[in-house]
């Protein structure tokens, strides 16, 4: 069973629907016992980092996630779930989970496209990714594949080796990060058509222990 962490961060049902569509049993839950029993964990979410972290702390899920990450359970963060795994977010000046060393930065003002026209923030819509490091979650992903993004902040791991893929929106920024048994995507896998479903399926079948 895959536990999809429910921490009042919106749109959890769409992740559950996508996982169910792929044929994997899952539960949207905030029950620590169920999360501990799960074979893997998906940590989704939209919204602001400050609200996300305070909900996690109120529910005691910050400790459960930290403990489960340390235990080596496969963990997938999506969107805000890709940000709060780092140490700190510039959004609401938020201390985060610190599962991956690094910080979350805001898109700076004044970004322009190749014609010098201003780019709109948040970065919303379909964009490509550029794979920096092979990883089982990226298996079968092609350079022309695109993914659906909605965000004004992006993850910056300290260790460049934790950056699995980047995207370009006036600047090059990390969009898939991974360290050990944890992977996280800034974009919404569950809303990225077949390319996203492919990556989600890769996670659902990923066996990081077997690689070690």
């Amino acid at each position: 069973m895959i536990a999809i962490i429910d921490y009042k961060a919106g749109n959890l049902t769409s992740v559950a629907r996508a996982v169910t569509h792929l044929g994997f049993p899952c539960a949207v839950t905030r029950d620590a016992a169920l999360i501990r029993r799960a074979e893997r964990i998906i940590f989704p979410g939209v919204g602001a980092a400050g609200a996300a972290m305070s909900h996690l702390r109120q529910l005691g899920l910050d400790e459960v996630l930290t403990e489960q990450a340390a235990a080596g359970k496969p963990l997938l963060g999506i969107c805000i779930g890709c940000q709060v795994v780092l140490d700190h977010s510039a959004e609401n000046d938020t201390r985060c989970l610190g599962l991956v060393a690094g910080r979350v930065a805001a898109f700076p003002a004044g970004l322009t496209d190749e014609n010098g026209r201003p780019l709109k923030i948040p970065h919303m819509g379909w964009n490509r990714i550029h794979i920096r490091r092979d990883h089982p979650i990226l298996e079968g992903i092609l350079p022309e594949d695109e993914f659906y993004f909605v965000h004004g902040y992006y993850p910056v791991p300290d260790d460049p080796a934790d950056v699995l893929a980047t995207s370009d929106y006036g600047l090059i920024f990390p969009t898939v990060i991974g360290r050990g048994h944890l992977v996280a995507t800034q974009f919404h896998l569950e809303k990225s058509g077949r390319s996203g479903l492919r990556m989600l399926k890769n996670f659902c079948t990923w066996n990081p222990s077997a690689e070690a």
């Binding site: 919106g10 190749e114 948040p122 819509g125 022309e144 058509g193």
Partner: protein
């Protein structure tokens, strides 16, 4: 860089789509779920559902449609039409839509935008606006006025000022429909689209007037739109989304190629 989005719009009344004459394969053209699936497979980047159900009691039918669509397609979709309150928004979003659009309700109660953005996040809240060309005046300096009731009622709001105000209130996106161009299939209102798109910091979806792929090319370049809404040109089978995207791609416009 972001791809330009191509967004088919489905009108739904009492749980059934109201347009669509010639459809390939075995798609039930009256079934919004089947049509959404068809467009998803064809490479639509997003889908807009517009609920034109007249009676409020029948809204539960639309919510059921939203739920079934969410189980079927894995791209963002929005729902508009008859969304008036925070509770209407919550219902649609919980059923699985990414975004909800408000139109006339926002004109009479602009704070619904702010309250929706506060409760669900700006990315969920789309301002739908119907706009008509009028004489420039002190009240309507842009020469474009916001209208409601399908264009029958003038609001006295300047389209540009309204768009900017909606952005300040927290709208995450604007779906800009030209009443003058709507239904003509002779092309989008390029001046209007460029005017709004360059003066707000949120994405603008152009709507009204699409009849040929060239129209999309024009609105996505000259019109500076971030996305283009299409209806008849695909519903009636004159074009496929993949053919439109091939054409745009050939014009040097970046669009998402679907695998």
């Amino acid at each position: 860089m972001l791809s330009k989005r191509i967004i088919p719009c489905l009108d739904v009344r009492d749980g059934r789509t109201t347009k669509g004459i010639r459809f390939r394969d075995n798609v039930d053209i009256g079934d919004p779920v089947a049509m959404a699936r068809f467009y998803y497979e064809e490479g639509a980047d997003e889908i807009v559902f517009y609920d034109i159900t007249a009676s409020h009691e029948r809204r539960s039918i639309m919510i059921d449609v939203v739920r079934r669509v969410a189980e079927t397609i894995f791209i963002p979709f929005s729902v508009g039409g008859g969304v008036r309150t925070l509770e209407d928004m919550r219902e649609v979003l919980l059923a699985g839509a990414e975004k909800v659009s408000v139109n006339s309700a926002a004109v009479s109660h602009p704070d619904v935008i702010a309250r929706g953005a506060e409760a669900f996040g700006s990315q969920c809240i789309v301002l739908g606006m119907d706009v008509k060309r009028v004489e420039q005046s002190a009240a309507i300096p842009s020469g474009y006025e916001v209208v409601i009731n399908g264009g029958r009622t003038h609001t006295g709001l300047d389209a540009l000022e309204w768009a900017q105000r909606a952005e300040r209130l927290g709208a995450g996106e604007i779906c800009l429909n030209s009443i003058d161009a709507d239904g003509t299939q002779e092309g989008y209102e390029l001046n209007l689209t460029a005017l709004i798109s360059t003066q707000v910091g949120i994405p603008v979806i152009a709507s009204g007037g699409a009849g040929r792929p060239e129209h999309l090319r024009d609105v996505l370049t000259t019109g500076r739109a971030d996305a283009a809404l299409i209806a008849s040109m695909v519903h009636f089978g004159s074009y496929t989304i993949s053919a439109i995207k091939s054409y745009l791609s050939g014009c040097g416009i970046r669009v998402r190629r679907c695998r």
